[in-house]
Symmetry: C2
Subunit: 158 residues, 2 copies
């Protein structure tokens, strides 16, 4: 039994959630995605933007390079849904999400086992020595749960 | 680096989602939990029942014993929300959820590393030989994502 076997389990879970998201998005029109998932809550459009921005942020956190779309971060991370803000269309957001996921998949293919178990880029070497679970794999697991959380909201638009 | 280190990462993610659920439930009154998370969708009450039944089902799947509340399974697994069905109150469901989680936590403490990596009880030895990722740890990871998915819905009641 290799460590890589356990790392692959986590990667499979990530892929599975992403396939589920694409299935849900594929079943929703741009108009449906412009609606709020529940009265007074975030719109589907905001949630695609949010997931795009959060996953794009994995590049710097996992030491895989720069964000592809840093300009959307202020709109979709730690900022509430603002329907009147100038922002990409649903169609554009769908394309950006796909582009981020394709580049991430390509990058993940090059991450070694020891890389996955090394510290992520927003924890210091000192803190990591005290809290060795704060590795890159743990970030991926957290983002998988985060993705599932928002899929549970997007499905309400179907 | 031990395998148990990676197994612990998954257990920590499970614990984290469960703490988040308890925090969300703690902020919601029984009356709020009786509402639908979005118009025409499942109620909070149904979702607590569903999570209780699904987590209770972990006992047989992970070979940890019998379900504590098999009688609620027909109400909350593979059955849509039926507000008029005779069912436990929100207060009772909260207690059942807590009881299941406490017993699970106790049982998880006794599962060895090799147990986590062994087949779950609903895959045959033959299929497991072909698909070795179908182990008990993978079930836990899937249930963690499933839990996050429904927390994303319950949070809409806040």
């Amino acid at each position: 039994m290799e460590h890589s076997f356990l790392i692959n389990l986590s990667l499979k879970q990530w892929d599975r959630q992403n396939k589920l998201l694409l299935k849900v998005l594929g079943g929703l029109s741009d108009e449906q995605l412009s609606q709020q998932v529940a009265p007074g809550k975030n719109s589907g459009r905001y949630l695609i933007g949010h997931l795009t921005a959060v996953h794009d942020y994995l590049f710097p956190i996992l030491d895989l390079g720069k964000q592809m779309y840093p300009e959307i971060e202020p709109l979709y991370i730690r900022t509430p849904d603002n329907p009147t803000a100038e922002q990409p269309s649903v169609a554009e957001l769908r394309e950006m999400y796909t582009a981020v996921m394709e580049k991430l998949a390509d990058s993940f293919g090059k991450v070694s086992e020891s890389d996955w178990l090394s510290r992520h880029m927003y924890v210091s070497a000192e803190d990591f020595a005290k809290e060795p679970h704060r590795n890159k794999l743990n970030v991926l697991m957290s983002r998988t749960n985060h993705l599932a959380y928002h899929i549970g909201q997007l499905i309400l638009l179907t």
